[in-house]
Symmetry: C3
Subunit: 215 residues, 3 copies
């Protein structure tokens, strides 16, 4: 356990990790703010939706784990959201050409969010399946709350292989931990798996089957 | 207090109780999965909605009480949801003929959920009215979140005498506790009351009055 | 810190404060119940929506702060909601003529809710920006959940300068604390600022700009 805690401490001090997490936060927030603007939200509403998209998953995870929500310990996430808002406000037309770049930040952010969620649960002594679950929650709940706020059915339930990527990533992490892999290797393998699965699912429009209704 | 704790321990070891709670979970999950399939959710979306319907109330209760959400301590609830999904997937057409059976599981599940919610709050030393409230929350919040996720107005607010059954059950439990009834008798009386009220309300389409608008 | 706690204790014992908080709760609940009745909710549904409107913000704040939700410690908030329900039920037609009075209770309630949220976070040792945030959450989350339950886009995101009033109020409180102002003065200044901003924003229909979409 101490071993894991040390790794987490190290990791959170790592500048690269911080930078990527910040970029992931900004990418998630941009997705929320753009959807809010399509619904003609005002500036405040757009910022709230962006913020909730970025921190909703980690907040739900921290509430379930019974720890202080991560964003209450550092104002970086608020500034990341404000930055995302300014980007959408001033570079709206330019942003369309950046869709590809934003998609990559979003993928990498997702990979990292799942890793953080998994490790935090592991460090608190939870079973592997709870850790996989918390990784998943960290990755997807922000976008679910975003879609509830803009009064749409969560897109994740009907159109994207987003969640499966998080679950597969969690399984990869579990296998690494079971085989006592170096923690850094486990993190890279997990994040990489999620990014790859999400990339190919998007590129080839791979979707889960629809559950047929009762008619 | 110790007395109550002992009862709860005994109860949770009771195989019959576990079996019925499992069946209640499956029945709640089936209701969520069927509604999700009517909205053309994919497999993952349907499982999430089923899971949230089954565990949403107890999770809200545990967050409010400040204890670890119950389903993080046992994977039975996830397997119950997966089972519910498989039932809907493979026996969809057959399920219509089972509506009556599922309704009974759902009623019994509701009765048990309220009992569990009440007892957990009582064991934590809360006032009777908080216990009644927590029983109610355990019983109804899952279906409220389910309806939010499928983007509908919660059916419980407009059409069913579902919630009143939970409140009456909670009052019965309170009376039993006040009169120092044997705890097992209190549980049976509570669950039985809820099942009866819900059964007759459904059979005779008894509804609460609509609150007239301002026009 | 002890100083702040003393102030809070004193304050919560103050009868005037209690009375105003109660009136604020009733005003918030009335807004929820009227919107629910416009959607043809039944009596139970209307009471739930009223209650959630009144206590939703403080509950979210308390869950994030990791303390027991305030309304579980006193049944006053439930009775306030029941009172609000009875008022809407019996004085529906008369209520239209009271819109002005209700608006004032609502404004004053908002001012007080923000003050309570700010002080509670300050007493728990959080940074100023977290306190401003918690004041905001206390003020607005109830109405967001209300609008989700009636299946509408939260009105606060598109039409009102409600949230900005809470933020400006939080900044005023922060400035007061930084200058070591008497706590009572800080509270009055904060609540007064919020009421004034909200009043003028409503009177002159001042709104935030809409964030233009991608088209």
């Amino acid at each position: 356990m101490e071993y894991i805690n040390n790794i987490i401490d190290e990791l959170q001090n790592a500048e690269l990790f911080n930078l990527i997490e910040f970029l992931g936060t900004v990418a998630f927030a941009i997705s929320g703010i753009r959807l809010a603007s399509a619904k003609r939200f005002d500036w405040f509403g757009a910022i709230v939706v962006g913020f909730v998209t970025a921190i909703g998953g980690g907040t739900m995870r921290d509430l379930l784990l019974g720890v202080t929500p991560f964003w209450m310990l550092s104002s970086a996430y608020i500034w990341g959201t404000v930055l995302a808002f300014l980007i959408v406000l001033f570079f709206r037309k330019f942003l369309v050409h950046l869709n590809n770049t934003i998609f990559w930040f979003d993928c990498i952010g997702l990979g990292l969010f799942v890793v953080v969620g998994y490790e935090k649960s592991l460090a608190l002594g939870y079973h592997y399946w709870v850790c996989i679950f918390m990784g998943l929650i960290t990755g997807i709940v922000g976008s679910i709350i975003r879609d509830i706020l803009i009064n749409e059915i969560p897109i994740i339930f009907t159109q994207e292989l987003y969640a499966i990527a998080c679950i597969i990533g969690g399984i990869v992490f579990t296998i690494c931990v079971m085989f006592n892999t170096d923690m850094f290797v486990a993190e890279i393998a997990t994040a990489f798996t999620i990014i790859i699965v999400r990339f190919f699912a998007t590129k080839f429009s791979i979707k889960l089957p629809i559950l047929k209704g009762d008619d």
